[in-house]
């Protein structure tokens, strides 16, 4: 794993951008772009990242960005990818779509799935803050069971769609599931993905102080606790082979114990209903255990 001091000093996100204070998404994109470098084109559908860029006539990202409609990241990227191929620059320039969980799990899955099926040459990042952040925290397909959102005010009653596994099962060459709490892993993951040809899907778990309702300074803590408690599993699939990553690997191998789920849940305002309802809590835990089982079966351990 890359050392902190080896991380490139170049920044591709300008100071004074419009993210909320303590935003996990900006930690994530900072290090993803460090790995990809400046020779990268980005396309961004409606999501927090379209706000984070700031206001016309300035932009907080220092690479070319095509902002595009909410449903279209996979499709807009397909057009850019085709154009780069026409120009003979598809090997030289990295192409990345950067979309939220709503723009991926919900309204963007079709364009993404189509792009993957066509073996489009690009990296698709889903940065998952588990709700529609831009519009004020409505339920998304990624919102965890039991979580408050403004459209599930008494807690969501469905489990998260297993999006990354769905993408992996498309048979794409690379799928990675990581977290904003581990920037070095982000860097390494993008470094690896950069050199693979075809559709690469990377999902980053994004602690979001605004939506999850915890103090801004706890972003890294919340990200780590999600992994440490097993609520978020980090893994990758290269070719047809699944593998656990980082802390999740240690957990899967029994080298470390999972922390109690409650350690992660309690500090977050969005889980206040879940906390009050043992039945819901049990169902949430059941969902997590099921995820671990499925993932362990896929990894083959």
């Amino acid at each position: 794993m890359v050392k902190v001091k080896e991380l490139p000093r170049e920044e591709y996100i300008e100071r004074g951008h419009a993210a909320c204070g303590g935003c996990g998404a900006t930690i994530a994109i900072r290090h993803a772009l460090k790995a990809l470098g400046g020779n990268t084109i980005l396309t961004v559908p409606a999501c927090c990242m379209s706000v984070i860029q700031g206001l016309y006539p300035k932009n907080g990202l220092s690479i070319p960005v095509l902002n595009t409609a909410f449903m279209t990241s996979g499709a807009a990227a397909s057009g850019i990818a085709a154009g780069l191929k026409h120009l003979g620059k598809d090997k030289e320039i990295n192409l990345m779509a950067w979309a939220g969980d709503g723009g991926t799990y919900d309204i963007g899955i079709q364009a993404l799935s189509g792009a993957a099926e066509r073996q489009t040459n690009f990296i698709y990042t889903c940065y998952n803050n588990a709700a529609y952040g831009n519009t004020g925290m409505q339920r998304s397909g990624a919102t965890p069971y039991g979580s408050y959102s403004t459209t599930t005010p008494t807690g969501k009653r469905q489990h998260r769609k297993p999006m990354a596994r769905i993408m992996a099962e498309h048979g794409i060459p690379y799928t990675g599931v990581i977290s904003a709490a581990y920037p070095r892993l982000i860097y390494d993951t993008y470094k690896k993905a950069k050199d693979i040809v075809g559709t690469r899907f990377i999902e980053i778990h994004i602690p979001c102080p605004t939506g999850w309702r915890y103090p801004t300074w706890d972003t890294v803590n919340m990200g780590k606790l999600a992994v440490e408690s097993g609520a978020w599993i980090m893994w990758e699939r290269e070719g047809d082979e699944y593998r656990f990553l980082g802390r999740s690997k240690l957990i899967a191998e029994g080298k470390v114990q999972r922390k109690p789920l409650i350690d992660w849940i309690k500090p977050q305002g969005r889980f206040r209903f879940l906390l009050k309802d043992p039945g819901m809590m049990a169902e949430y835990e059941r969902g997590i255990e099921r995820e671990w089982e499925i993932m362990k079966r896929l990894v083959g351990c």
């Binding site: 902190v4 001091k5 991380l7 920044e11 996100i13 300008e14 100071r15 004074g16 951008h17 419009a18 993210a19 909320c20 204070g21 303590g22 935003c23 996990g24 998404a25 900006t26 930690i27 900072r30 290090h31 860029q53 700031g54 206001l55 016309y56 006539p57 300035k58 932009n59 907080g60 990202l61 220092s62 690479i63 920037p183 070095r184 102080p209 801004t216 300074w217 706890d218 972003t219 890294v220 803590n221």
Partner: protein, 97 residues
């Protein structure tokens, strides 16, 4: 409003924007707390630099973090991740005095 390095005619054709600091203004204005580093305690590990969501930390010649207060939003992640407890928060109102 915003001052631009350059403003070619594209601007007048469609919504083109250029990379520049302060796309959301001087976000240092948002700060309620300000990070302050204790140069003695700092071990130069760069964790604060790595985690700063606003990329406002630079390590100075001595490897100690400096904060671009024009843009630092005061989220205090740096304080939280600093393994040496070298960063502390100061209320902005007090800091200004």
């Amino acid at each position: 409003m915003a001052k631009l390095k350059r403003k070619p005619p594209s601007h007048r054709i469609t919504c083109i924007t250029y990379p520049e600091k302060g796309a959301m203004g001087n976000t240092g204005d948002w700060r309620i707390f300000r990070p302050v580093v204790d140069r003695e305690k700092c071990t130069r590990c760069q964790m604060c630099w790595m985690y700063c969501p606003d990329a406002v930390i630079t390590m100075d010649e001595e490897g100690i973090p400096t904060f671009d207060l024009v843009y630092c939003k005061g989220c205090m992640i740096c304080e939280e991740v600093c393994p040496a407890n070298a960063i502390t928060r100061v209320r902005e109102t007090e800091a200004k005095e």
